[in-house]
């Protein structure tokens, strides 16, 4: 299902023109392969995120687009032009570095004007553009200061202005908010999002923060061990992860591994490694055979918890409450089933009395909420 929508989207993108294209790109460092055959098409004006744990090759992928690394194999195209043998200073892209990399010996104004000065613009010509960029990030009153005199969030804005002033085809952001504290990060996320909307520029952001990727991006590529495991909209990635890795990495989930026992009209019956029989809804474009290894992902917020046996036949198990975490808006329960499997349950805090640890409880979820994928 998700495959077909993806393909139609890709076709649509190539028609309107893609801004960045990676074709079977590999990168090897001293015998270690950081990027293994990445294929990506990023459309014009998209906010595209590359998401993955540290060491998955996401930053290397971004550096390949920026030109700081050259691919060991494959090709990088920007606006349809091959970037083979094009040095970083001649590429129509600009980067916002995680460390900001501001020039400490220059004022904020000179930092932002740097790219335009290099292009050979005169002082009078670049003045309007530099001011505009500083206004865009609300830093116009800091023009005469030095980077060392600014806070982390302010430096971040200057780094953005310094890149944006050159009007690149693509803005590359390497963990742009990684060094900021939580509150500032939320604020900057909002601003990044509105900047993107205002400018209509293609943003390619690398991040390890799944929440950030989900909330900001039009599309996300999830990378793992140098490969792209899935590309899709945030809801596709969250609702229909195509591998146990993604299901586990994006949000929280209960992963139950087992084998396909039976294929029914209502769904597939899976027997987990611990022997629990569970029913899941069939996956449209996948026909596994009986006995095939299957992983089932059940989101904690989709699991019900009750003290008495509920009136359902499928996906209902008895267990013992092992841990309760009170999170304010939600309550987090850890339940160990009779079979030995551990299930996490997340429930909205409705204010009632909470059960105590070691209570016998029942967990249950509907067939629709169990998502099968190849293990």
């Amino acid at each position: 299902m998700s495959q077909t929508t993806l393909q139609s989207q890709t076709v649509a993108l190539t028609e309107t023109g893609s801004d960045v294209e990676l074709r079977k790109v590999f990168k090897v460092f001293n015998g270690e392969t950081a990027v293994r055959g990445v294929d990506l098409t990023i459309g014009q004006g998209e906010f595209f995120s590359i998401l993955g744990p540290s060491g998955c090759g996401k930053t290397t992928t971004l550096r390949l687009i920026a030109g700081f690394e050259t691919p060991s194999a494959g090709e990088v195209l920007v606006r349809g032009q091959s970037m083979l043998n094009v040095p970083p200073n001649q590429r129509p892209v600009n980067t916002v570095f995680q460390s900001y990399a501001l020039f400490g010996h220059m004022t904020i104004w000179d930092n932002v004007a740097f790219g335009l000065k290099i292009k050979g613009l005169t002082k009078a010509e670049l003045e309007g553009q530099v001011r505009e960029a500083l206004v865009l990030v609300k830093m116009e009153s800091f023009a005469r200061r030095y980077p060392a005199q600014l806070s982390g969030g302010q430096r971040q804005r200057v780094a953005l202005a310094r890149a944006l002033v050159n009007r690149p085809a693509v803005l590359l952001l390497d963990e742009p908010l990684g060094a900021l504290d939580l509150k500032l990060r939320k604020e900057m996320q909002m601003e990044l999002s509105s900047l993107h909307r205002e400018l209509g520029m293609t943003f390619v952001m690398v991040t390890h923060d799944q929440e950030e990727a989900l909330s900001l991006s039009d599309r996300i590529a999830v990378m793992n061990e140098g490969r792209v495991e899935q590309v899709g909209t945030p809801s596709e990635i969250y609702e229909a992860p195509r591998s146990p890795f993604i299901a586990d990495f994006i949000g929280e989930t209960n992963l139950l591994r087992g084998r396909l026992a039976q294929v029914d009209r209502e769904g597939w019956q899976v027997e987990t490694d611990h022997g629990s029989p569970i029913m899941v809804r069939p996956v449209a474009d996948w026909q596994p055979g009986r006995g095939d290894a299957i992983a089932v992902s059940v989101r904690p917020e989709k699991v019900g918890l009750s003290l008495y046996p509920p009136e359902v036949k499928v996906n209902c198990f008895e267990g013992e409450l092992q841990n309760i975490m009170y999170l304010g808006t939600h309550v987090h329960y850890a339940v160990e089933l009779r079979s030995g499997e551990k299930i996490t349950v997340m429930q909205v805090n409705t204010g009632g009395e909470m059960p105590t640890v070691s209570t016998q409880v029942y967990v249950h979820w509907s067939t629709q909420d169990g998502l099968a994928m190849p293990a």
């Binding site: 700081f68 200073n89 460390s99 900001y100 990399a101 501001l102 740097f114 292009k119």
Partner: protein, 282 residues
């Protein structure tokens, strides 16, 4: 005996802990006073004697500026000073360029034997001067290079280079490793990004390295005297040759001036470092 020992120990402990607060402060104070006294007394004595009317160091005969005046009329001293300054300026200038290139190159490129090269390049700061001096002389003799002013300069470059490279490398390690990439990303060529971004950021490090090397070069006697050709006499060599026939008051005066000059340069170097740190801290 083993039964008595712990008792004794604990008794001592009690005495010590009871007496510690008062004693410790005074001990530290006394120790520091003695140390500073021993360190600076010779300089103080030297300074006092440089104003002594008597040409012999024995007794105080009254205050005079005479020896300082005599110094500035002494052509041998002035020639030696000029030689010393020429050696220091040339050696430091050359080392500044080479040392900066070395630090940047070492931080940027990976190559076989890099660690060995790194260790070897800093060796001149540890090897005793006398060993360096003898080694340089033997080397020059083996290659049949005649000793001259230029051989002193070459020998000085060897140690100045090491000191400057150390200071610049420290500064480089503190810098954001993405600075040059950021410049390239904004359209600068590699040459532009070096001169417009990296070099200005390294400048404080290069400057304080140069000041350090300058003082060391000006101060050097051993290496200079082993590698100097005829006619090339540096100031420390001139002072040493005069002292052999007894300490004259004009040498006292010269020493005081040298101390003041070296102190001023060391202070300038520290100031550059301090101001730079203050700027970094915002």
């Amino acid at each position: 005996m083993s039964a008595i020992q712990p008792n004794l120990d604990s008794q001592e402990d009690i005495v010590e802990t009871m007496a510690t607060p008062k004693l410790r402060i005074s001990w530290q104070g006394a120790f520091s006073t003695v140390m500073y006294f021993l360190m600076y007394l010779p300089i103080l004595v030297l300074t006092v004697y440089s104003f002594n009317e008597s040409p012999y160091s024995a007794g105080w005969k009254g205050f005079t500026w005479r020896w300082y005046g005599q110094l500035f009329g002494d052509t041998r001293i002035l020639t030696a000073l000029r030689t010393s300054l020429a050696v220091a300026l040339l050696a430091v200038g050359l080392s500044a360029v080479l040392g900066t290139m070395m630090s940047v190159g070492l931080s940027r490129y990976k190559f076989r034997g890099k660690k060995l090269y790194l260790g070897m390049s800093y060796l001149p700061t540890i090897v005793p001067d006398i060993a360096m001096a003898v080694a340089t002389l033997v080397f020059l003799a083996a290659l049949a290079i005649p000793l001259s002013l230029w051989t002193i300069i070459a020998a000085h470059v060897v140690f100045c280079l090491a000191y400057i490279a150390i200071v610049v490398s420290t500064r480089l390690a503190d810098l954001d490793p993405h600075l040059e990439e950021a410049a390239l990303d904004l359209g600068a060529t590699p040459v532009q990004s070096f001169f417009k971004v990296l070099l200005p950021q390294l400048a404080p490090g290069i400057l304080s390295g140069c000041l350090l090397a300058f003082v060391l070069s000006l101060d050097d006697f051993l290496i200079s005297s082993f590698t100097a050709g005829s006619g090339a006499t540096t100031l420390p060599m001139e002072i040493f040759s005069r002292i052999r026939t007894g300490v004259k008051p004009d040498v006292n005066a010269l020493s005081v001036l040298l101390i003041l000059f070296s102190g001023a340069i060391a202070f300038a170097g520290e100031y550059v470092r301090y101001r730079n740190q203050a700027k970094k801290a915002g």
